[in-house]
């Protein structure tokens, strides 16, 4: 088993703006993580399948134009597929009132515009470590 955190960076829903997801994915890769990247508009079922096949620790969902509203559906689908322990973070334009709903649905953290790439990488690394120890207890 690789010790490098493995992260899926993707966009679900209808929006295609991907500057944020491209920059974050490239940064995580340069920070030594294994990154699986997809084009936008992924179906929720496709994301779950990819997370399973690629055996990722963390899923990063980028949202600019309200696609964060269907992240709770993704959380359900992950649980249904037996992937409840996979860490999910969301980055992009998420109003405060919606952030609460995402955290309640099990999202580990929401990163807003202006977040530092190093902060994101540090958080993902910690989250991946926690996910690993939950999945493979010593």
């Amino acid at each position: 088993m690789s010790l490098r955190p493995k992260v899926l960076v993707t966009k679900i829903g209808l929006d295609g703006h991907d500057r944020g997801s491209r920059i974050v994915a490239a940064h995580l890769r340069d920070a030594g993580m294994e990154v699986v990247y997809t084009p936008p508009w992924q179906e929720i079922a496709a994301v779950v399948k990819l997370a399973q096949e690629e055996d990722v620790d963390v899923i990063g969902i980028s949202s600019l134009a309200t696609d964060h509203l269907i992240v709770p559906r993704l959380m359900h689908a992950l649980r249904d597929a037996g992937l409840a322990e996979v860490g999910v973070i969301v980055g992009g334009i998420v109003p405060d009132e919606d952030e609460r709903a995402l955290l309640d649905a099990g999202v580990a953290r929401v990163f807003h515009p202006g977040s530092s790439l190093d902060d994101i990488a540090a958080f993902v690394r910690d989250l991946a470590a926690r996910v690993r120890s939950a999945r493979f207890p010593a």
Partner: protein, 560 residues
């Protein structure tokens, strides 16, 4: 007033420059190297020694005359200010119409329509997750709904910009509405924003519905159809905004946009159209970043290059073909979630750069666009910002007021050189269509996006409230954000289902079959078939599904 420089420049001027340079170096021994966002080195001072006054006619000329560096019309903003075109769209057609009539009442002078993301993606409202409906744009799927959107708007006299990617169903619905109201299609004016499928394939990816070769065909058909049936409509808006928002530098965004326009023009010529038949209806759409002088120089250089390309490369004879008409939008990427009211200052500076750059139409972002779809409060401030700049600030008293600035002229030349070099890179790839198919353009934009972000992370590019002057904020001070009323959206959905059940299924089937046949037949016009389908009562989703089936599903090429 400056007197013309004698030729040669007197020795005294050069001596004075040497004196100043010594004094400058003594006072600022550790001067920083400064480059703008396009990577052009910027000196601390520009003087007559940076200009060549003998080039005035060739490089600048007069407004309304080629090369149009000083503006595409003789009177520019003194004769007619820019069109105040705010992009709006939220909720149901009724919600949209109310917001539209409000901003028209507050000073906006033209219509724009932003549809829901479900529309962008080519689906009807009953094909997507209901929680996404109407959150970013108006849910409009039929000619009837378009009629509601444009209620009490005179289609014969109001310019309408539709955020309407190919196959241009929103325009088709508007034409169907006009027909119903007895308005002649020849009087319809406005622009198919988002017609630039290349920009969507490369960046943004919002509106890419049909595979690349099919997109190429539909756009060319659209140009030919509009020329014949709706001659006041601008069928092509070449979009630099997406590429700059995705990370291209201002010079790259201008270069890729001009290269795209060249590609579309060549495709139209290959389809048998004459340059002077379609070039007068080409328009452009750009981003205005907060890099003030760079943006002004970008627009001035773009005008100069386009005047040359249309005349020399395409042999256009009609001056309307040479004019570089553009709409611009203040850059959302520059706005911050932190201390959002600061965005009003940013938008003001961006808008001024666009105005000094000689734009024809302007959208100012609402300060809260970085938080969500803008509030009515935010949208009104954005409109007021334009009113203040246009009528209080005396910006429009003089045409091209920064023309002749030693710096702005030198920077215009520098940007032109940089833009031409990037256009040559694209030519070397075989033109824009080939350069996006191979991922070349995507790679360049990605590299520039990362380089800019790295400057922000290192603190070399200040962003107030983000990497400098950070303050603790009270999140409750942020505005309450608009959301579509779920009960209104539910009844909109129910109304749509009823409407579909009641319409003539035979008419719909016939029109969709004709559309499918047009897509397969060489020489048929696909957009004409789309208009017929809209008139016959087909929905947006049905039209898009038919063309996706016949021409292939569009997937962007993403390079990370």
């Amino acid at each position: 007033m400056n007197k013309p420089l004698p030729d040669p420049v007197p020795a005294s001027l050069d001596e004075a420059r040497v004196r100043w340079a010594a004094e400058y170096a003594a006072q600022l021994p550790q001067d920083r190297e400064t480059r703008n966002r396009s990577g052009i080195p910027v000196k601390p001072l520009y003087t007559p020694l940076d200009a060549d006054p003998s080039r005035y006619d060739e490089a600048l000329g007069f407004p309304g005359e080629p090369p149009y560096t000083r503006g595409i019309y003789a009177t520019m903003h003194r004769g007619r200010t820019w069109t105040q075109r705010q992009l709006i769209g939220l909720g149901t057609p009724r919600d949209y119409n109310a917001r539209l009539l409000d901003i028209l009442d507050k000073g906006a002078t033209a219509v724009s329509l932003i549809p829901c993301n479900s529309v962008y993606r080519g689906y009807d409202m009953d094909e997507v997750y209901p929680e996404l409906l109407g959150t970013c744009g108006v849910v409009v799927n039929t000619a009837d709904q378009m009629d509601t959107c444009l209620d009490r708007v005179d289609l014969a006299t109001t310019s309408c910009a539709m955020n309407d990617p190919l196959p241009f169903t929103l325009l088709a619905f508007m034409l169907a509405t006009a027909k119903r109201r007895g308005v002649d299609w020849r009087d319809i004016s406005g622009t198919s924003n988002q017609s630039d499928y290349i920009s969507h394939f490369v960046a943004n990816h919002m509106f890419f519905r049909i595979a690349l070769p099919g997109s190429r065909r539909v756009l060319t058909d659209h140009v030919a159809w509009c020329n014949a049936h709706a001659p006041r409509w601008n069928p092509v808006s070449v979009v630099g905004q997406h590429m700059q928002q995705a990370g291209a530098t201002p010079a790259e965004a201008m270069a890729f946009t001009l290269s795209t326009a060249i590609q579309y023009a060549e495709d139209c010529i290959a389809a048998g159209m004459s340059p002077d038949a379609f070039l007068p209806r080409f328009t452009f759409f750009f981003d205005i970043s907060i890099s003030f002088f760079e943006e002004i120089a970008k627009f001035r250089a773009g005008r100069r290059i386009w005047a040359r390309v249309t005349r020399e490369r395409f042999g256009a004879r009609d001056p309307r073909s040479w004019r570089f008409k553009f709409h611009a939008q203040t850059s959302g990427v520059d706005l911050t979630r932190q201390q959002p009211l600061n965005n009003i200052a940013r938008v003001t500076a961006q808008a001024m750069a666009g105005i000094f750059g000689g734009l024809q139409s302007l959208h100012t972002d609402a300060y809260d666009e970085v938080l969500s779809c803008p509030t009515q409060f935010g949208a009104r401030i954005a409109v007021a910002t334009q009113n203040i700049l246009r009528e209080e600030a005396h910006l429009t008293d003089v045409i091209d007021p920064l023309g002749g600035s030693y710096y702005v002229e030198a920077l215009t030349d520098g940007m032109e050189e940089r833009i031409l070099a990037t256009m040559a890179d694209v030519e070397a790839q075989g033109g824009m269509y080939a350069a996006v198919r191979s991922g070349y353009v995507q790679k360049r934009i990605g590299e520039s996006a990362r380089a800019f972000q790295a400057k922000v992370e290192r603190g070399e590019q200040t962003i107030v409230g983000v990497n400098k002057y950070v303050v603790d904020e009270d999140a409750s001070a942020r505005p309450a954000l608009p959301k579509p009323d779920p009960s209104l959206m539910r009844s909109h959905l129910a109304g749509f289902a009823r409407w579909k059940a009641e319409r003539s299924r035979d008419d719909v089937d016939r029109a969709l079959s004709a559309l499918a046949r047009a897509a397969q037949a060489d020489g048929a016009n696909t957009f004409g078939a789309v208009v017929d389908a809209a008139v016959a009562g087909c929905t947006h989703g049905e039209i898009c599904a038919t063309l996706r089936r016949e021409l292939g599903f569009g997937q962007p090429l993403v390079v990370v």
